[in-house]
């Protein structure tokens, strides 16, 4: 009778977790329709914060946010005096939902070194909104994220998804939202040892996808017309996955760092004009910022990388984001992998504000800094009309903070996704409660 007892154990465990969660999301705060008044409101579109403002939410959508917003009778009001309100934070490339514990391989679905497929891999089929990092990220104010696979067996990592971090899943908003390819040092390694090989693989893949898209039903490769190639390097699955990329229906995220590689990506855009390119990394982007801006290619860049960590980031500086932004590039903060978890987004953005006070450095103003972790990543994910700011009509992803959200001492105190109040309970918050006082009580800690 092992099986039933195991089941019972699982139920008991679930039972102990539920009361805490319910207690946290208590009925003292409204959902769906509400207003926050008297708070400092930061819209997230790059504008400066507005003191003494109001945010009005109805039916899970933002109705208005700003200075002169009247609250209709009957709408529950939350007093935001002394508090700040922002849109939920957005991080465009993460491994949220793919990983429980990074270095525990069994729990990590972010890469597949010996898989048969690459571009065809679709992370949306594996995302688990109960993965512990999702709840921890939510408690830090992240409400939406892009989820990307990590390339491990080919230059193509596969197809990323867009998720929300709401507490009761499913979480997946947009499967197959983008494709990710490696063309720098990592791409060279994956392609067989050189950037030359990576470039050849990429161009061949795009052409195979285009050929596949043009092939007539029932025909095999080469049967349609003389001169059409009959060989194929890509699996059918991978080639099919690249069709929306070559047709410009799915963005192609390209990871490169050094200036020369960035120029190479911009040239690729000229060779395949339909591609909707996004540059990921761009550690030396400031050196070619004008060219990136002219090509209207957006960038996901790490905020604080300032070490020549490799020969492709020799010119790394914390001023990279500020200089690119000043040149007119649309830049969101990225690089939220490994130890730089998404929950650090606000701290990183705050650092770029501090940087603007260093002579010779380029940072962001406060409004730009918040936009780099809200509206801009949402736009880069193609979701700018759905979330990422407190503009009317957008999803009511609302975070109430106990202070300036970019300041290290501040934290979210209330979080809504689509107007629904979210739990802030997670593994860490439960441990905190248990160990408020060291030492055992009348019973072991395990009974607390």
């Amino acid at each position: 009778m092992k099986r039933p007892s195991l089941l019972l154990g699982a139920l008991l465990l679930a039972g102990t977790a539920l009361p805490a969660r319910a207690a946290e999301a208590s009925a003292t705060l409204p959902s769906g329709d509400f207003a926050v008044t008297g708070a400092t409101i930061a819209i997230g579109d790059g504008s400066a914060p507005i003191p003494g403002g109001t945010v009005l939410v109805r039916g899970g959508k933002i109705v208005a946010a700003g200075k002169d917003v009247s609250v209709p009778a009957g709408v529950p009001v939350i007093d935001g005096t002394g508090k700040w309100v922002t849109p939920g934070l957005v991080t465009a490339m993460t491994d949220l939902g793919l990983v429980d514990v990074g270095a525990v391989d069994e729990s990590n679905d972010s890469s597949a070194g010996t898989a048969r497929f690459s571009a065809g891999l679709d992370v949306s089929l594996a995302i688990d909104s109960d993965a512990p990092p999702v709840a921890v990220s939510r408690a830090s104010g992240i409400t939406r994220a892009g989820v990307a696979p990590i390339a491990a067996n080919a230059i193509f990592a596969g197809q990323g998804a867009v998720i929300d971090l709401a507490q009761d899943g499913p979480g997946i908003m947009q499967p197959r939202a983008f494709q990710l390819v490696e063309l720098g040092e990592r791409g060279a390694d994956l392609a067989g040892g050189s950037r030359v090989a990576a470039q050849a693989l990429l161009r061949n893949a795009l052409r195979e996808a285009r050929d596949l898209a043009q092939r007539k039903p029932g025909k095999a490769a080469g049967q349609d017309a003389p001169g059409q190639p009959t060989d194929a390097l890509l699996t059918r699955v991978d080639a099919a996955a690249l069709i929306p990329v070559v047709m410009g229906k799915q963005p192609l995220f390209v990871h490169v760092e050094r200036a020369a590689d960035i120029r190479g990506v911009l040239a690729l855009g000229k060779e395949f004009p339909a591609l909707r390119l996004v540059i990921v990394g761009a550690g030396e982007g400031w050196r070619v910022a004008g060219e990136i801006a002219a090509a209207k290619v957006p960038v996901l860049a790490s905020a604080l990388a300032d070490l020549p960590g490799s020969f492709e980031t020799l010119a790394a500086t914390q001023s990279n984001v500020g200089r690119m932004t000043a040149a007119g590039v649309k830049v969101a903060l990225g690089g939220f992998y490994d130890l730089d978890q998404p929950r650090y987004a606000a701290q990183f953005a705050g650092n770029l504000v501090g940087l603007s006070r260093v002579p010779g450095a380029a940072g962001l103003n406060w409004g730009q800094a918040l936009a780099s972790i809200t509206s801009i990543p949402a736009e880069i994910l193609g979701e700018g009309a759905k979330f990422g700011s407190l503009k009317p009509g957008l999803s009511a992803d609302v975070v109430i903070w106990d202070g300036d959200p970019l300041e290290v001492a501040s934290a979210p105190i209330t979080i809504y996704v689509d107007g629904k109040l979210q739990s802030l309970v997670n593994h860490q918050s439960r441990l905190r409660q248990r160990y408020r006082h060291p030492g055992e009580g009348a019973l072991p800690k395990a009974y607390e």
Partner: protein, 461 residues
């Protein structure tokens, strides 16, 4: 992009590699017998400074104190006066107006791998783990230090770091000796060595050693294997020490010299250890063999045994809020530091990271704020102690540096705002009274040999 988008793709591999997040050790003084003479003595010499008075700033003195509108006097490389506005500035001092600004002692990172895992992080620079045997007390980190690591300059200019302990990695149970450095570029590692600092010996618990050696099919492959190999080494060291003291050594053993010096109390143990239960085992092991652990590093579960650490006088050197990247970090919580402080245990905020070392002040601020949210209120000055005097104490250099007190080294940071704010940066940094960074003066910004003639040379970083 040290740990950046480049490692968007390599990060997990990094974590799984033997060099991920590992390190710690130190070493001892000099005397008559051969094993006590240091053949690699410090040749560090302070650079010239000028008599300097920082006036009008809020001064955090490193001991927990806070002086509004304070005055700090530097002369002859030393702190010669600390006080409030009544402290007279002698003639001939350069006056620096600190109004609206803040002064702290130079920041000290007790856990760094700068120089032994230099940037760029190519295999040729991977010098931090002698991962060929689970116990390598015979290696000395200073013999791996590359004094041209570009990371030193970022730690100085963005982090106000003036002193660092450079540790071997944590692939090994006993990783070797650490070295304490002044953050001053030099042609040789010897010329960076902190004069008179005791050595440390790096030890490691937990996942890293058992993964590295278990993966090679050798001992240790388990946590019980970890302890067994450690204990066997201590038994041998105790024997060696006895013979050494009796003058009966027939052959000198470099590894045993280091461990015997630990047993003699001359070398401080710096022990990488995440889990509470493992720290408790190590404390018992230290009593079994008669040595003392100076600090547990990466002690993410220290809050579970705050009382035990307090009662044994062992510091917890921790990140503010790293969490969940490996199994033994799953129970990390951001309230760790505050809970330890609340229980009266010694808190140190460390980096273990070439990026994190640039923001120890922010990490300390985060840790304090997490405590405040659960009702534990810690004053600003006490939080600054976590990155100054407390690490100095655990390194055995608290008589020389770590606080602003008369006669101590003139290691000082002038911040352009409260260092516990994300918006603040070092404006000027003095080391032994010499102005070695000035935000407003590009000529007071170090550029490593590596960066010369390459893109980005001399840029703000």
């Amino acid at each position: 992009m040290g740990r950046t988008a480049a490692h968007v793709l390599a990060g997990l591999a990094l974590l799984a590699s033997p060099m991920a997040g590992m390190a710690e050790t130190k070493s001892a003084p000099a005397a008559a017998p051969m094993w006590q003479k240091n053949p690699y003595p410090s040749t560090y010499k302070p650079y010239p400074g000028e008599p300097t008075a920082i006036v009008g700033a809020t001064v955090f003195d490193g001991t927990g104190g806070e002086i509004p509108n304070g005055t700090v006097l530097l002369q002859g490389g030393k702190v010669v006066g600390v006080g409030d506005a009544r402290l007279a500035v002698p003639d001939g001092y350069r006056r620096i107006d600190g109004t609206g600004k803040f002064v702290t002692p130079g920041v000290i990172d007790i856990h760094s791998h700068l120089g032994v895992y230099g940037s760029p992080a190519v295999q040729a620079h991977s010098d931090g783990n002698e991962a060929t045997s689970p116990t390598t007390p015979q290696v000395w980190a200073e013999h791996s230090v590359w004094p041209q690591d570009p990371g030193f300059s970022r730690a100085l200019t963005n982090g106000g770091v003036t002193t660092m302990q450079i540790l071997p990695g944590s692939a090994n149970l006993i990783g070797g000796r650490s070295v304490v450095l002044k953050n001053v570029y030099a042609r040789t590692a010897q010329a960076m060595k902190f004069p008179g600092a005791p050595y440390g010996m790096k030890m490691a618990c937990g996942e890293n050693p058992k993964r590295v050696y278990g993966g090679k099919g050798q001992m240790p492959s388990t946590r019980m294997g970890n302890l067994a190999v450690d204990r066997q080494a201590w038994i041998k060291a105790a024997e060696y020490r006895k013979k050494r003291a009796e003058g009966k050594l027939t052959e000198r053993d470099l590894a045993m010299d280091t461990m015997a010096d630990v047993l003699d109390g001359k070398i401080l143990v710096q022990n990488h250890c995440y889990r509470a239960d493992e720290m408790a085992q190590v404390i018992d092991m230290s009593k079994e063999f008669g040595y003392k652990v100076s600090a547990f590093h990466h002690a993410v579960e220290a809050y579970k045994i705050a009382d035990l650490l307090r009662d044994n006088g062992i510091c917890a050197a921790i990140w503010a809020d790293w969490w969940g990247f490996k199994m033994e970090a799953f129970d990390a919580i951001p309230e760790n530091a505050a809970l330890l402080a609340d229980a009266g245990a010694c808190v140190i905020i460390h980096s273990d990271d070439a990026n994190g070392i640039q923001r120890l002040n922010q990490e300390a601020a985060k840790a304090r704020a997490a405590g405040k949210r659960m009702g534990i209120i810690i004053p600003d000055g006490e939080v600054i102690r976590w990155i100054t005097l407390n690490p100095a104490r655990a390194l055995g250099i608290d008589k020389q540096t770590g606080s602003l007190a008369q006669g101590k080294m003139g290691d000082v940071v002038l911040w352009n705002g409260n260092p516990l704010s994300v918006y603040s940066r070092p404006e000027k940094v003095w080391i032994d009274g010499a102005l070695l960074y000035d935000m407003a003066d590009p000529k007071r910004r170090p550029v490593s040999d590596f960066e010369l003639g390459l893109p980005g040379e001399g840029d703000v970083k």
